[in-house]
Amino acid sequence: MIKPARSSKRPWPRKSGSETAALFGTGPIYPRSFSTRSMGGRLVVHIALEDRRRKVPEVVLSRINRWADRLTRHSEYSDLARLNADPGQSVVVRPTLARALRAGTLAAQETGGLVNITLLDARLAAEKGQSVSSLNGHTYSITDTRRGGAIIERAPGVHFDLDGVGKGLLSDRALGLLERHTSAIVDADGDMAIRVAAGRSWQIAVADPRNLAIDLCVLAISDPSATGSVQFGVATSGNSVHRWEHNGLVSHHLIDPRTGLSARSDVVQATVIARSASRAEALAKAVVIAGSYAGLNLLEKAGALGAIILTSSGRILAPLNTDRYLIADRRAKA
């Protein structure tokens, strides 16, 4: 059920068109939000408060839900579940799933293989406190067909888990549907595709996983040098939420493809700023798996726009290029 945010009062005084433009023309954007449940979490579309169009975000939410229904592994009727249940090594998939699998392949290339969409069995084993016997032979290929579909050729036993790759992809696609909005955010459970008008900024808080009542910091997402709308992606990944404990051993959902086990690193949570939600999501996950040292190197190599990294010792680190997005002066160079 889609629930548009409603207010009993007008959030701003009635003003003429020019006065409204002066009020909202520059600076931080005050959001109007439309939310629903999707992909096992929340799905929210934010548009600028002064943007009077209401119908478009609701249409977009419905469209995302239809896409998500094809990519979830929690429904036996989804395209992904059918692919995983198919015993064949060569399977034809429809365009939405084909696009998600291509995005997963690209994420693997950009992160040196740290993001891997073939680790479903390892993840399910981690949930039970077990481990998979072998990760060898987890190979697949994608051959495009007409009308956007694809033929998936895979080694025996390869099962796919799109996880955040699907959310990032859907956020980016959905933002494309909001092309008439010069400022908009599609937030798929923390993975955000962002468009911001010239001279404006979206203020986005990075939640503290240790205490959700406070934030690690606040980012101002904008591009002062832009003359038109600019797109960004902001995504957060971490090992604090999807965790399981069996016989005193803690595991979580971020599987290190080098070991087939839950990643052991000094990073608890990583938030990455990039040019798309897909890219930000892949890099955030890779930083958590790789650790802070290798993660900072990866971010620099991948050309990430910025990042906020919470380590297990409680330090909050950010690459130097994050400085332009950090609000307030609560920071020091180290």
């Binding site: 931080p28 005050y30 959001p31 939000s33 096992g40 979490g41 934010h46 996880d163 955040g164 955010i185 937030d187 459970d189 923390g190 993975d191 955000m192 979206w202 203020q203 986005i204 808080a205 990075v206 939640a207 503290d208 996983p209 959700l212 009542a213 406070i214 934030d215 690690l216 910091c217 606040v218 902001v234 995504a235 957060t236 990944s237 971490g238 604090s240 939420v241 999807h242 949570q269 938030t271 040292y293 900072l296 190197n297 620099e300 906020i308 330090r315 909050i316 680190l317 950010a318 690459p319 130097l320 994050t322 400085d323 950090l326 307030a328 609560r330 920071r331 020091a332 160079k333 180290a334």
Partner: protein, 100 residues
């Protein structure tokens, strides 16, 4: 035919090269002299080139040597105990987080 096309391409590339050379001269020459008593400011962009030194190699004079194994310089963010929430309503979280 091929010869004619080749000659045509050569002529075009020569023209472009000449245009670039003339433009560069035009940029280098100041349009107006600096006023008396004023300090002429010139903006110069120096490209920074990184060269990975192999074992036994030494850096050229004046070069800054960076230890490739040294940690990257970072910003350490100091967390606020009471962050401003007046304008911020959008938060990025790990997936599955239930916000209060």
């Amino acid at each position: 035919m091929r010869f004619a096309l080749g000659m045509g391409g050569l002529a075009i590339s020569l023209t472009i090269t000449r245009f670039i050379a003339v433009s560069a001269v035009g940029i280098a020459a100041p349009a107006q002299p600096a006023p008396a008593g004023a300090t002429a400011l010139t903006s110069v962009t120096r490209p920074v080139n990184y060269v990975a030194l192999l074992p036994g190699q030494t850096a050229p004079p004046g070069a800054t040597v960076i230890d490739a194994t040294a940690p990257k310089p970072v910003i350490v963010v100091t967390q606020a105990t009471a962050p401003p929430r007046s304008t911020v309503t959008i938060r990025t979280t790990q997936s599955g987080t239930v916000l209060p």
